[in-house]
Amino acid sequence: MPDKRERHILITGFGGQGIVMAGDILGKAATLYDHKHATMTQNYGPEARGGACSSQVIISSEEILFPCVEEPEILVCMSQEAYTKNIKSLKTEGTLIWDTDLVHTRKTDAAFKSFNIPATRFAEQLGTKMMANIVMLGFLSAVEPLVHAEALKKAVLESVPPSTRDNNLRAFTTGREYGHSILKGLVKPEPGKHQE
């Protein structure tokens, strides 16, 4: 059983979406700026692009030994395949976050909290869908503050190519503001594409 102080996050999608980078940034925020312990491990297939991909992040105030996330309390899904494969592992009372346009969910389950954001669409509107992972991190920072938002923002800026910093900052802010609006009820979550 994971230690109570350990927070287990699973970010999933397919290769090329920046899944591993998102996990890396989250871990950097926790270790370098929040001065906690964190590990990030990755699972991926042999394909450079398009295969199933996930990054497992553990954040803790103490040393982390076993680096695998078996029962995430936060599950981020950026593809249908990743959702179908991982939803069963989500911890009771955990949090599910998905990309509105990429995952067709069943009805929300009372056993966990759920949020969605059209992260890829927002990123496209900002110029490139490559920033969907950063939009998602911004959103995550609003709905599930695992690390300080400032720490996360710093980690984003440190991890992206210098010429794209401004754009990525916009992506982060877009995600974060959308998250705040959802929490305040200012925006009704999009109904998504429900699937029975």
């Binding site: 996990g23 890396d24 871990g27 950097k28 270790t31 370098l32 312990h37 964190a38 590990t39 990030m40 491990t41 990755q42 699972n43 991926y44 297939g45 042999p46 030994l65 076993f66 680096p67 695998c68």
Partner: protein
């Protein structure tokens, strides 16, 4: 940073200025980091045509007087065996990092295993001793890579880092000390004149001072059995003398080379022995066992080769049981059995690769061993 990147940074901190490699999952990031970092600091990165060439090139570079390394995974490690043997025979300092994946053959390129332990020990033909280190975190990737260079420079042989896919691809915080706080060892140089220099005449500790190419000593270096002059000597007597020294320079210095991290050994009934990524699961299991009131202990092998026979023997004599936790069909457990020498039962917790060991599995084995009557 991840373990592969930490390996690169460790190498640079140790003074490595030449890297020859060939892309292979999950070690590619070592080469990629090197290709970015080395040119910045005046070093050379070259991608060779295969791993045979990579290994040959780092030996050549080392004789050119530059600290050198390569990195690879199982299939490439197999190809390097030939020239690892040349490095052993010619006593050439260099470092080989093997980020292990599941085999045999192409196996599971993106998934973890610890199946090359015996290959690292015996993979090249003939009889020899080797030094191999096994890191359990990106921080240890950094630290052990520095140590690997220091050991290779001091003992004059290829030193192997037996990492694994999980460690290579795991991101964690790595603390890089100030330059002046990092201990660096450089190869011993000859102090005598060219006429008096015998390239393979060892000092008292079994290590011969090494002249680099261009130092004016006009050395001859060969993979044939050779005498103190470095000249081929084709008889059993020369073989006996050369191999005895190659073996003894490691065996007789084992106390200085071997390092382990021990936990709760003072009163432990059941001692888990592990290394690399598996040692983290083992440590979790041992801590959980202590919470359950079981007197469990841990030996984490920082050096895999030479194996800590004396430590194992003394711990075995006062333990109820010992357990090896590793990701292969049972390799280092053979060493554990040999070293325990029947003093206590030895068992194995393992899988054949593709996933890391769950601490629960090890905990079950510890609990079971603790209950057994002695």
């Amino acid at each position: 940073m991840n373990g592969d990147e930490a390996c690169c940074e460790g190498a640079l901190a140790a003074g490595c200025r030449f890297f020859a490699g060939y892309p292979i999952t999950p070690a590619t990031e070592v080469a990629e980091s090197m290709s970015r970092r080395l040119p910045e600091i005046g070093g050379i990165y070259i991608q060779m045509e295969d791993e045979i060439a990579s290994m040959a090139a780092i030996l050549g570079a080392s004789w050119g007087g530059v600290k050198s390394m390569t990195s690879t995974s199982g299939p490439g490690f197999s190809l390097m065996m030939e020239n690892i043997g040349l490095g052993i025979c010619t006593e050439t300092p260099c470092v080989v990092c093997n980020v292990q994946r599941a085999g045999p053959s192409t196996g599971l390129p993106t998934l973890v295993a610890q199946g090359d332990m015996m290959q690292a020990r015996w993979g090249s033909h003939g009889h020899y001793e080797i030094i191999a280190l096994s890191p359990s975190s990106p921080q240890e990737m950094f630290d052990f890579t520095i140590r690997a260079f220091n050991l290779s420079e001091y003992y004059r042989l290829p030193v192997i880092i037996l990492a694994d896919e999980t460690i290579g691809h795991m991101n964690e915080r790595v603390i890089i000390p100030q330059e002046e706080d990092i201990e660096i060892v450089n190869r011993r140089k000859p102090t005598v004149s060219r006429e008096d220099y015998l390239p393979y005449e060892a000092d008292a500790d079994g290590i011969a001072p090494m002249a680099n190419c261009g130092d004016g000593y006009r050395i001859h270096v060969t993979g044939l059995t050779h005498d103190d002059r470095g000249y081929p000597a084709m008889d059993a007597k020369a073989q006996e003398k050369m191999i005895t020294r190659l073996v003894d320079k490691i065996r007789k210095n084992r106390d200085k080379i071997i390092r382990t991290q021990n936990l709760y050994l003072d009163d432990a009934d059941v001692v888990v022995v592990s290394y690399g990524i598996s040692a983290r699961s083992a440590m979790q299991a041992v801590r959980d066992a202590r919470k359950d009131g079981i007197k469990a202990g841990l030996i984490k092998l920082d050096t895999i080769w030479p194996f800590p026979e004396e430590l194992i023997r003394s711990v075995a004599s006062r333990s109820k049981a010992m357990i090896m936790a590793e990701i292969n069909g049972g390799q280092m457990v053979l060493e554990l059995e040999r070293s325990a020498f029947g003093a206590c039962p030895v068992s194995l917790v393992s899988n054949f690769g593709g996933r890391i060991l769950h601490p629960g599995l090890i905990l079950n084995a510890v609990a079971k061993a603790a209950k057994e009557k002695t």
